[in-house]
């Protein structure tokens, strides 16, 4: 039954994605650990961590695509779920430092000693166990998403309004986590991690293992997402993306469908954050910044909204571009990113993966509308536009 669920959504594209991920999971550890350092095929540990980071972003993009691409909910606050997952993992890693901190307090993290706290706040309890932290990585973002979605979807907050209140959500969390009294390290966040599950977090083998775990999580999430989309439930999701009122009038409880996709997506984003934190070695409130959520949206848009593979592709490509630009031409990065936003929305509404279909539609010579998706997009999301697009 479960197997069927997973296999149901798999098509040719999925085969390609999973094959590439499988190759990565084997080749990268091999090239890092067993190929000698002077060989041209050797990958430095820095590159592995960088790739791992990209794949975490890819997982975030996948989660976002599930709600935006298939459900029509443009979340401008998905980085909040990502960061919450990251904080849950960061709290575990903080507790693992134990007495090796600067102040040598076996229970309290350094920043609490510094703030003169006497005992661990209740919400830190349990985070010394990995299993607890791992559950929290799913539960905290999931619960927040569930509560938020429960209210928002039942009140039929849609389109732009929903996008803006998701921004408000992540902004409120940003402000909250900046506060020292919250007990999450304030401005500096959580950092200076020592080890994970008993292994040194700086060691090459640990980093490679984290990378492999990220690949595995991405592959699993991909299968879950495509399973959901391929199922009957997925058809309803797409239907309510394109015409929510009609689906509701046909008797479907659209709120529950949306809530399910939304919560699932938040959990995936949480996992992405949890894998991200040990690989970059820090989590701080800036991850909640509204801008990072919007950046995640552009990854999906570049790759192709509504194609899971496109989300992954977009996240990896844009972030590779970011790494290149911020290193080589830091002045130009924001121009490039800004230009990308504009160019993709104007010329590639279906993203890179949709480019082929778009070209094919144009070739026969008929002057098609420059924006083939305008109709559906309008119905899905354009409820505030008045009669502008009509």
């Amino acid at each position: 039954m479960l197997l069927r669920f997973f296999l149901m959504g798999l098509d040719r594209k999925a085969g390609i994605v999973l094959t590439i991920l499988a190759i990565l999971a084997v080749a990268v550890p091999a090239m890092t650990l067993w190929v000698p350092a002077d060989s041209p095929f050797h990958l430095s540990i820095f590159t592995v961590s960088l790739l791992g980071k990209y794949l975490c972003f890819a997982l975030l993009a996948l989660a976002l695509d599930l709600v935006w691409g298939y459900c029509g909910i443009l979340s401008l606050g998905h980085a909040a779920f990502f960061a919450l997952g990251g904080y849950a993992m960061g709290m575990y890693l903080m507790r693992q430092i134990g007495p090796r901190g600067v102040y040598g307090n076996p229970v309290l993290p350094d920043f609490m000693v510094f703030l003169n706290w006497k005992e661990l706040p209740w919400y830190w309890l349990g985070f010394d166990h990995f299993w607890f932290a791992a559950i929290m990585v799913l539960v905290v973002p999931g619960a927040l998403a569930f509560a938020f979605g429960w209210f928002a979807f039942r009140s039929r907050v849609t389109g732009v309004y929903l996008s803006i209140i998701t921004q408000a959500l992540t902004f409120a969390l940003l402000l909250a986590f900046f506060r020292n009294d919250m007990g999450f390290g304030g401005n500096n966040g959580l950092t200076d991690f020592k080890d994970i599950l008993g292994y040194d977090i700086q060691a090459d083998t640990t980093r490679v293992a984290l990378f492999v775990a990220t690949v595995a999580a991405l592959a699993l999430s991909y299968m879950i997402a495509s399973g959901v989309i391929g199922s009957k439930l997925g058809k309803v999701l797409v239907a309510l993306r394109d015409a929510e009122s009609r689906v509701r009038f046909m008797g479907y409880d659209t709120e529950s469908y949306k809530l399910f996709a939304w919560t699932l997506s938040a959990c995936m984003a949480g996992v992405a954050g949890a894998l991200y934190v040990p690989q970059v070695g820090i989590i701080n409130p800036s991850e909640f910044a509204p801008a990072s959520s919007i950046e995640a949206v552009i990854w999906v848009a570049v790759g192709g909204r509504g194609t899971l593979a496109g989300a992954i592709l977009g996240a990896v490509l844009v972030n590779m571009g970011k790494s290149y630009f911020t290193g080589a031409l830091p002045e130009l990065w924001l121009f490039a990113l800004g230009g990308l936003f504009v160019a993709v929305t104007l010329f590639l509404p279906k993203g890179l993966l949709g480019m082929g279909a778009q070209l094919k539609a144009k070739l026969p010579g008929r002057k098609a509308s420059p924006l083939p998706t305008a109709q559906t997009a309008n119905q899905a999301t354009g409820q505030t536009a008045g009669q502008k697009g009509a």
Binding site: Y161, Q383, K388, A390
Partner: protein
Amino acid sequence: MRRALRWLMAVCVVVATSTAAYAADPRATDLRPLVQALGSGGYSGTEKALTQLSEAGDPAAVPVIEALQAGDLYVRKADGTVVVARKAGDAFTLTDPLTRAALGDAPAAAVEKIRINNSLRRAISASLGALTLMSPDAGVRRSAADAVFKSRDASALETLGAAIAKEQDKGVRAAMEQARAAILLTGEAASKMTDAEIQSATDTLTARGDRDALVLLNMVAGSGASDITKKSAAAAVSTLEQKLAFWAALQNLWYGLSLGSVLLLAAIGLAVTFGVMGVINMAHGEMVMIGAYTTFLVQEFFRAHAPGLFDLSILVALPAAFLVSGGVGIVIERSVIRWLYGRPLETLLATWGLSLALQQAVRSIFGPTNREVGAPSWMSGAFELGGLTITYGRLWIVIFAFTVFAALLVALKRTWFGLSIRAVTQNRPMANAMGIRTARVDALTFGLGSGIAGLAGVALSQIDNVSPNLGQGYILDSFMVVVFGGVGNLWGTLVGALTLGTMNKFLEPYAGAVLGKILVLIFIILFIQRRPRGLFALKGRAVEA
């Protein structure tokens, strides 16, 4: 005591009849022995002479005591005369402390400094406070009275009484009476006072009505004073607390109004682009930023070419910022946004991209650091209104925000341009059929919204840092205001801005600035659940298009 009284009477007569400068006054000779006494008998001798000088109540003694305070008072060893000596090269230039007549130079070895210690320093400032009560300058008398109010030095009591009797200026006399009441209530004199006197003293303090008075009355109420005093003080405390709470609430209301008008300014342009046109313009904040940088450029021009007219620079910056931001807005509309009508979420992404590019462009041109934008003289300073302190800068911004709002309202409701905007918004094909050039109206509407953002930038440059990130801080707030107020309704924007601003400022004292802001955000999120279309929702078919 008698002697002191005689001095006081003499002083009163003199103050009443003449306010001539102290120098060369016949009374100077009478002070001479006291001044002379400052130089003998060590610390205690100096202190004794100082007390007598201060009891003499003659303002002519002020420069002498000031010289003592500054350490400029010396004794000439040759004849024991007290002189003011100022170092000039190796030697000292001597002058007479009372007449200021030059007494020639003396080598350093020929004079000896009159040294002072901490107890003397206290006595000096107290006696200066008391003596300046007699100053011919009302401002000096007033600050002297305030100083006495703060020090509550009982030795100033008599001078104070004399000064009150002679005081003509109402405000200064009130300040003096408050100072006297403060001394009476806290000093030993309190036990000898009648009930009526105590009552009148507490009344005087209550009339003062500020936090200092409250602290003082609280002190009296909790001190070892007699029961009557305590009771009267406690009653006064509760009256005063109510009064202060009232003014604090009013002050919060003003802060809220001030923040609300800043929000209104930032959001009102968005109310046009988002509210009227339905375009989610994430680059709105950058239009504000461009307006602020235009102000900077205009001010630079004025600084370089017409520094004398600097006060007018803001007035020139207003139309300039409107045109620059509006122009940028029209270019954006023509090049990007017109392809995206009816796809609000795509518009959101594209304009976000534009905002990043604009920020980086400004950063490349002007550098990442804050730019200095000055305030014209008519915008600096503050005035008091009852218990309120109102700065002119904020006052102008409030006035400006409401002016812009009113002007926009008139433009939309009473002009041909506004009519076309509304026509195109409500029914594009029909407006087109009636001969309205819809494409041009779109561009101009977007330009109008952006231009208003530019105006906001001029105002915000006065209270915020002019940096490439200026706009980012306002974009989310602006959206919150528009969404909270209800899209497509200017009055909703007004009410939304003022409500959120006031709420923020009333929460701040209890929750702190950051938590207050978080609470407001949560409030908005919950509010949108209750009323998904904002406070003043548009009704009817247009909504569900």
